[in-house]
Subunit: 348 residues, 2 copies
Amino acid sequence: MSNATIKDIAKAANVSVATVSRVVNNGPKVGPETRARIVDLIETMGYRPNINARSLVTNKSSTIGVVIPDVADPFFAALANSVDKVARQHNTQLLISTGQLSADSELEAIKLLLQQRCESIVIHSKLIPNETLIKLFNDNPNFVLINRYIEEIAHRCIWLDNIEGGKIAAKSLINCKHLNIACILSNYDIEDPSLRLKGFTEQLKESNQDIDQKLVVYAEPTLQGGEAATQQLLAANTPFSAVFVYNDAMAIGAISTLEDNGFSVPKDVSVIGCDDVLLSRFSRPKLTTLQYPIETMAHHAAKLSLNIAVNVDDCQPQDASHPSPDILPSLKYTPVLIERESTAIKTD
Amino acid sequence: MSNATIKDIAKAANVSVATVSRVVNNGPKVGPETRARIVDLIETMGYRPNINARSLVTNKSSTIGVVIPDVADPFFAALANSVDKVARQHNTQLLISTGQLSADSELEAIKLLLQQRCESIVIHSKLIPNETLIKLFNDNPNFVLINRYIEEIAHRCIWLDNIEGGKIAAKSLINCKHLNIACILSNYDIEDPSLRLKGFTEQLKESNQDIDQKLVVYAEPTLQGGEAATQQLLAANTPFSAVFVYNDAMAIGAISTLEDNGFSVPKDVSVIGCDDVLLSRFSRPKLTTLQYPIETMAHHAAKLSLNIAVNVDDCQPQDASHPSPDILPSLKYTPVLIERESTAIKTD
DNA sequence: CAAATAAGGTTAAACGTTTACCCTTTTAAT
DNA sequence: ATTAAAAGGGTAAACGTTTAACCTTATTTG
């Protein structure tokens, strides 16, 4: 019933398999009444083409792969979801493979996807070495790298300007007159935290401010990590009136811990996050954060990977305050500061 | 290079394809030195079997499908993640297909997965009619339904006792002396909200309490939905001192709106959520909620679907206060109340 | 009215595996 | 010394498609 093959249909319709194949694929060379008859049969016999057989001969899979560390993380889930939307618009099936934040797993995930004959893959990899990736990308013209920049394959990297992000955060905190500023960063061995820190400290230096090394702490980029990092900060006993946090989850964990310890946000300490996940609009206090346009970026990446013309409108909107320096669609995205309630001008 | 076929290996090793196939699949009938030689060649020539060709002949896919409404929802992401963990333990690739909360899409998603030759599928469907599902399950012995109970296929349904959940919530609120209790429910056309409401009102009746129909409102089960529902509640101008909310996202949206309107939680109104997503431990105030053991359930579902013996330890722990009535591993799970800070005994 | 073209098909090879069945050589048992 | 069995390996069909190449019958063109 559900496993009728093309031959069964051909026999029932009294035509060759080629003809059936043509109606299935909307090919030419088949008369209207024959087509109608076959369409009918396909419907009533519940025929569905065997993807494997098809892929075997066409060497295509109608499948787009996504490699992310973890499906459960909202940030990566948003990424995958965005790719999924593009995929379903183009009759493409989404395949997700998780890299678990280990170089071996990431590579394994890619190979798995390759084995499934995905010709397009959007890869979020932080741990595979540049050279390996470059080699991989040279063999596979439809791979796209998201959230990472490698010069040699720059035209297939969709990335966020982390340095600029750090600068924007610093500017905002400086404007609020903060002098003792802490940093909570991810302890994952990836470049994002250090780039953000770099931009942040550079900007601080422009105002002749320096960052106290005791005030930069590292932890897992999760709610719990934010909690742990904040406890560490508190234990150091070095006063601070503001903290720049690696992501929103950590920021919310930080706020939670701060308040548990009698500090009010933003009265006693200002907190600025990064990512602008949906939640940051609903936390108490509402979170000031750097918007990471991951959905747009993932959308862009998916289209690039599928070789679909990228519509300028789909990309980061030209913002008067943050004009993109490149011709659109640019592969570089810049975060935008979203000011809400967790930051304030320093009092006392 | 990366697309060497089994024939290439055979030629290089000076053996037949059958022999190569045997070493790839750890089959018998191949001598140790031949095996070593072939393994070597496979490595150096970067051979990876073509999954499509293999599936075509074996009619198996080493793939487990998951149908969920949406990847971006943390609840479903947790579900998928849990299935993924089981899958990778058993060398199985995860395939996610999204149902978008429409019966047609859900069915389409299943068919897509079937077309990819997934023999095992974990399905989260709320909208496909019972009969359709029953038929589908009779044809496909490895399908498992999660978060829904259909009597005819009960042995393949992993579900949560929503009625009991409603009762537990009601008891807790009654214990806190609340008399005017509101309900915020999902407006999706699924049975969960009505079952929870049913349990809730039944329990209320046992204490001779009744629920004011003006105090039960419906909205999207999201942060924004919680916001909207609460505004509706506030607009009705009927006082209430507690609210039972369909899920944690809505609950957090509700708290946010309540506080924006000058009500303090839990002083002025108690809020009880449902799901116990990670976030509920980090919201302000920390959320009292019904724990929905979705990870365990999904783990269980994945194993059931893959025909893997389900370990009793993996299932819901026997809790003295909530003994499971069935022999473990039970397919029915019961939510557990997690009391945190968003509920309190009624004052004034 | 012949020739050219279009329309609607068919045939068969190819895709890369797995596996039942067959064959040969070596080893063990009598 | 014979024979049986075991070990190691080869052959070829089959899985369900797509598609180039070919064929036949109308239809158009000059």
